[in-house]
């Protein structure tokens, strides 16, 4: 095993731990995106360019995008809940 791999593996472990430790959703999303980036570098080093490419596009673009949209929605909901408490949007299908 060469030094580059050892460094990248350590980095993956550390960033992974950090991602769990951060409890604030937006910052955590950014950490998760960063974790994907580090993972992708590791995969390149492990001679898996296809997987690395997928990991970059999924882990650093698609998943954070979904997460940020959902967080924005949840925040909005919290704000509006302050104005009108109780259950919003109850009812059957259209």
């Amino acid at each position: 095993m060469n030094g580059l791999l050892a460094v990248l593996l350590t980095l993956v472990g550390a960033v992974g731990t950090l991602t769990v430790a951060i409890r604030e959703p937006v910052r955590q999303t950014i950490a998760a995106g960063f974790l994907s980036l580090v993972l992708a570098l590791l995969f390149f080093a492990l001679q898996a360019p296809d997987v690395a490419l997928s990991e970059i596009v999924v882990g650093s673009i698609a998943v954070p995008g979904m997460l940020l949209l959902a967080i924005a929605k949840i925040r909005e909901q919290e704000q509006s809940a302050d104005h009108e408490p109780g259950e919003a949007d109850r009812g059957g299908d259209e």
Binding site: D50, L53, V57, V58, A62, L69, A70, K73, G91, E94
Partner: protein, 247 residues
């Protein structure tokens, strides 16, 4: 965490992490992979399919049935998201004011920047998809990049584009399901033309883009499916943001 949960969690974590580490360290050392499956597959992909990327050959040919399952995991999860985020009675709609408000947020210039970024990305997508069987990349990666190209436009144009997208989501959905159906059809094509499900039924070619038999077709189908699926999810989540905004 309650006390009971902490104790259970601690013991469980120690056993699970320790157990996995204990088991995995019983393997051969890192870098000493020697099994024949990987070697056979790696060295057979060029003679079998004239395709140089043996990962893509494995995913789309040797183990194509796995990928069929995977495509439908994606497909059904999008259907699941559509159903779970469906509009209920009494839920406020996509009001015109919301649209207008969202619209004001995006300035003209950022919109153009977004559009400018999107063009090259689409070119990159096409390149990645059609070269899948030869170099790293393929339908899957291309699909996600296609999605992000449109997301770039969305960042520039903020909601305008995504709103239009929501309105035309019927087309995105059709592209997505056509991709999923297309991949299944490749399997059926093998059955009809060659007698075995997922058997290759196109010439393997010698070099260049038209190699790998059905693999390029599979790449295009997967690209459509993946790009469409992620776009649907993003658009649905975006639509959620506009809904319920009624202060």
């Amino acid at each position: 965490m309650t006390r009971g949960r902490s104790v259970t969690a601690l013991i469980g974590l120690v056993l699970l992490v320790g157990g996995l580490a204990w088991g995995a360290t019983g393997l051969y050392g890192f870098g000493h992979y020697h099994a024949s499956y990987g070697r056979i597959v790696a060295h057979a992909s060029v003679p079998d399919r004239s395709a140089t990327n043996s990962v893509v050959v494995t995913a789309f040919d040797y183990r194509a049935f796995d990928t069929l399952g995977e495509e439908f995991i994606l497909f059904v999860s999008v259907v699941g998201v559509l159903v779970l985020l469906r509009r209920l009675r009494g839920e406020s709609g996509r009001d015109e004011e919301n649209v207008a408000e969202e619209d004001r947020r995006a300035s003209e210039s950022t919109r153009w920047i977004g559009l400018a970024a999107a063009g090259p990305l689409v070119v990159v997508t096409v390149y990645i998809v059609v070269h899948g069987q030869l170099t790293p990349g393929g339908g899957f990666q291309g699909g996600v990049i296609l999605m992000s190209a449109i997301a770039f436009v969305a960042v520039g144009g903020e909601s305008m584009v995504l709103l239009r997208l929501r309105r035309t989501s019927r087309w995105v959905e059709m592209a997505e399901s056509a991709g999923a159906a297309g991949f299944a059809m490749i399997g059926f094509g093998g059955l009809i033309a060659a007698g075995v499900f997922f058997q290759n039924f196109l010439p393997k070619g010698t070099s260049g883009l038209l190699t790998g038999g059905v693999i390029p077709l599979a790449n295009i189908a997967v690209g459509l499916e993946v790009g469409g699926a992620l776009l649907m999810v993003i658009a649905e989540l975006f639509d959620q943001r506009l809904r319920g905004r009624r202060l």
